[in-house]
C-alpha cells in the first residue's frame, strides 16, 4: 500500500487539495461549490493522507485532531447562526446580509466580478458546514481504515 511513490505524491498533493477545499468553502457564495462540496474536497485530501500511511503513522497524525468535537462545533455553529434570527425575525433568517458586519456588504445587482465580503449568514454557514462535513467524512474514512487494519492484524 505505502510505496515511496505514493508517499511522495501524497506529500505534494495534500497541501494543494486542502487549499483548494478551503477556497471552495470560502467562495461558496460566489462560485460553484459551497460548504458541502468544499468539505468533501478537504476530507478527500485527509483521506489520501490516511490511505498513504501505515496504521501507526495515521494514529499518530489523527490522535491530536478532535474530529468528533469539530463535528459538534460545526453543527452547533449552524444552529447558533440560525438562532440569531430569533432576535426579532425568524429562525435561520439572513440577519447579517446588508448589515455592514463582516461578510455583510451589499451585492451590486446584475453581473459583477464577485466580492468576497458579501453573503451575510451564508458565508458563516458555509464555513460551519464545511468544518462539519470535513470532520464527519474524515472520521468515517478513519474508522473504516482502522477497523479493517485491526481485522487484518487479528487474522
Amino acid at each position: 500500500m505505502t510505496t515511496t511513490i505514493i508517499r511522495t505524491t501524497t506529500k505534494i498533493l495534500v497541501p494543494l487539495i486542502l487549499v483548494f477545499g478551503s477556497y471552495i468553502i470560502l467562495h461558496g457564495h460566489l462560485t460553484p461549490g459551497g460548504g458541502f462540496q468544499g468539505g468533501a474536497v478537504f476530507a478527500s485530501g485527509l483521506a489520501l493522507l490516511i490511505v498513504a500511511n501505515n496504521k501507526e503513522k495515521v494514529k499518530e497524525l489523527f490522535n491530536k485532531v478532535p474530529l468528533s468535537q469539530l463535528e459538534s462545533i460545526g453543527a452547533l455553529g449552524f444552529l447558533g447562526i440560525g438562532a440569531l434570527g430569533f432576535m426579532g425575525y425568524t429562525f435561520l433568517k439572513n440577519v447579517i446580509a446588508n448589515s455592514g458586519f463582516l461578510f455583510g456588504a451589499p451585492t451590486p445587482k446584475g453581473i459583477n466580478p464577485g466580492y468576497l465580503n458579501t453573503g451575510g449568514t451564508l458565508s458563516y454557514l458555509n464555513i460551519f458546514v464545511g468544518t462539519k462535513v470535513l470532520a464527519g467524512l474524515t472520521s468515517i474514512v478513519l474508522i473504516f481504515f482502522l477497523i479493517l487494519r485491526r481485522e487484518r492484524d487479528e487474522w
Binding site: L30, S68, G104, T118, L122, V129, I140, I143
Partner: protein, 91 residues
C-alpha cells in the same frame, strides 16, 4: 415460484416507470417557474450572494440544509456506534 412472481412484479413495475417517464412534460421546458424566478431575481439583494444555488441552499431553503447537516451527523454517529469496540455485558 417466488422468484418468478418477483420477476413478474419487477417487469410490470419497469414498464410502468418507463410509461411515466415518457408521459412527463417535454424536457427543457418547465411549465411553472414562479418560485424559481423569484430566487433568480431576488437572490442578490435578499441573500446578498451571487451564487443563486447557494442562496437557495442556505437561505431560502436553509432549514433543509440544517436537516441535511443533521443527516450527516446522524450517519457519522451511527457509523462510529456500529463500528465501536465490542464491549459491555452480553445482554
Amino acid at each position: 415460484m417466488r422468484r418468478a412472481l418477483g420477476l413478474f412484479a419487477f417487469l410490470s413495475f419497469i414498464v410502468f416507470i418507463i410509461a411515466v417517464n415518457i408521459s412527463l412534460r417535454p424536457f427543457g421546458e418547465p411549465p411553472h417557474t414562479e418560485m424559481d424566478n423569484y430566487f433568480i431575481e431576488h437572490a442578490q439583494e435578499e441573500a446578498s450572494a451571487n451564487n443563486v444555488v447557494t442562496s437557495v441552499v442556505f437561505d431560502y431553503r436553509g432549514f433543509d440544509t440544517l436537516g441535511e447537516a443533521t443527516v450527516l451527523f446522524t450517519a457519522v454517529s451511527g457509523v462510529l456506534m456500529a463500528l465501536r469496540h465490542y464491549g459491555g455485558k452480553e445482554r
